[in-house]
Symmetry: C2
Subunit: 339 residues, 2 copies
């Protein structure tokens, strides 16, 4: 291969993101300068937050420029290295983007450039030990502060972040109720992952079912969804409840502003808190999280699921899977084999 295949952001989305927002192109393979490495991407990570990066508005990262390769986390392999800490063949994590090759350096881009720890697979590094797992870990523990015996409600519970957040809550001695879409996801959560109760938002009345499954209300709501599900949840808070605002996928593809919950003032009477966070702030503490997560995995206390697609041409469609709820577990796509 002597070209760099790329999917560029061609136009900003209005409503549901689609293949039309991107444009395929081929460019020369770039060359690493001193202090840099040339990485070949093997696995791309798909995350709901990518939808936000496509919009031209100030956020925690600058928007992807029109005509630039779409931003994405990735696992790749070093092809050539001009950096003393890396050599050809190393498996690395970086912000590879939707392309075959990327120039990377440790201090460059939101994810920098790090070697995979020994024994950690690319699938693990892009899921339970990566952004989604760390998001669950720091969001639940730092903002949620779960105590044994408390009830933890999780939306987007079958997702890569939600499923890990719920399992960490179980490990911390909490009762865990998950909200997910469809019987397959709900069954997986209850029978394999070990959630105490599940709510199928596609087939059940969420408000009624939270009341049924949380007889003592909830102390923590780990929310990935926002919208109607957040509003339903706000009816069932315990005193001093903590709402960990991780995401709002229900609104990411909206064309009009989506009204917020009409019952927000319940936060006052119940002395409750809603708090947002961005996992990138916690990167200096990633090491402690990875050690603990690895321990739980090896003890069989923490399960994770990968939804692995294949093929460079499938990249745009794979992003859409997140917003239609098709993915079961962390959405990845493989675009090359290691050499």
């Amino acid at each position: 291969m002597n070209t760099n295949r790329q999917w560029l952001l061609a136009k900003r989305p209005d409503g549901m993101v689609s293949r039309d927002n991107f444009e395929y192109t081929e460019t020369p393979i770039p060359e690493a300068k001193s202090g840099e490495v040339l990485v070949r991407n093997l696995y791309l990570s798909f995350d709901p937050t990518q939808r936000g990066w496509m919009v031209d508005r100030e956020s925690y990262l600058p928007p992807v420029a029109i005509g630039a390769p779409m931003r994405a986390g990735s696992i790749g392999q070093v092809v050539t290295s001009e950096h003393a800490d890396f050599e050809a063949g190393d498996l690395v994590q970086t912000t590879g983007g939707w392309q075959d090759f990327v120039i990377a350096a440790p201090e460059q881009g939101p994810m920098g450039l790090t070697k995979l720890p020994v024994g950690v697979t690319p699938e693990m590094m892009l899921s339970v030990l990566g952004i989604t797992g760390l998001t669950a870990y720091f969001g639940l523990l730092d903002l949620g502060n779960p105590k044994p015996g408390e009830t933890v409600l999780v939306s987007g519970a079958a997702g890569a972040t939600g499923s890990v957040a719920g399992q960490i809550a179980k490990i911390k001695g909490c009762r865990v109720v998950g909200i997910a879409g469809g019987p397959e996801k709900c069954q997986w959560l209850k029978q394999e992952v070990g959630f105490d109760e599940v709510i199928d938002y596609k087939n059940e009345n969420v408000d009624v079912r939270i009341a049924e499954t949380c007889p003592n209300k909830f102390d923590i709501f780990f929310d990935n969804v926002g919208g109607d599900i957040l509003e339903a949840a706000l009816n069932h808070m315990n005193m001093k409840a903590r709402i960990v605002m991780c995401g709002g996928i229900s609104g990411y593809n909206a064309t009009e502003p989506v009204p917020g919950p009409a019952n927000l003032m319940n936060l006052i009477t119940l002395r409750a808190r809603m708090e947002g966070f961005i996992v990138l702030d916690y990167m200096p503490r990633a090491g402690e999280a990875i050690v603990e997560l690895l321990g739980w995995i090896s003890e069989g206390q923490l399960k994770y699921q990968i939804d692995l697609q294949e093929g460079f041409d499938q990249i745009p469609d794979t992003l859409q899977r997140l917003f239609t709820g098709q993915n079961l577990g962390k959405q990845l796509l493989k675009i090359a084999e290691p050499f």
Copy 2:
């Protein structure tokens, strides 16, 4: 006087509270039993939260029952005492309700029964040193945690709570911007109270004016209003902003649920927090607050304003003044002179 005049809650409000929600009656003067005192109410306190007490729904206090005297904080004078700590003539604070006489005891009702400290007037005790002042004190300091140089935005800024919150923020070295209704309130805040900037929400575009008056955005929003003003504010948060949810007066008389802010997800990208509180939780710490507030008053650093109405027949209309924004400062009503 040998009857106890009362205004009873006659029917629950649907929309704006009015005189029709209450019924005037006269009953015999009650008698204090052992451990109790008979209090004659002199001053009644009017607070936006009373609107919530009229609704039949679970909250931080039980709803006022239909046919019961409307609940209200009050300053009164002990008429007869069957409690060793009180004697006839003592000026006391209690939850007197909309009536001439009430039976009170230290452990009874949300406010209990406390003597006014020496040198503290009823007006001070029901405003800057009372529920509204303590709400400002604990909400701003405990939830807001202001640091010198930060920008603090206050809605309902000319109100009894908002004006004190803003002044405490000034004392703590913050830049303070207030949102209030009408030129009279705005002028008072800027020229007499010492706010740095004011926004007249009745005559100005709040979103535009927050941008203009908060060039560095805000670090704390002390919100008494909710609704559109909250939504506008959420566009101008600094990183790690704290939104102190004190009240939502814009929605208290709504007949339909009012949608929440469409931009709530800004809390995520800015790692910001919204938190509610009820001042009754802080009553064990009231002493420390009163000492500090009194110090600031005596040093001329803390101003307060009383809107004093008179006459027992004016009680229902005086409550309405809060929701039409007629009051300038803490709304009180005097129903009797001390003997």
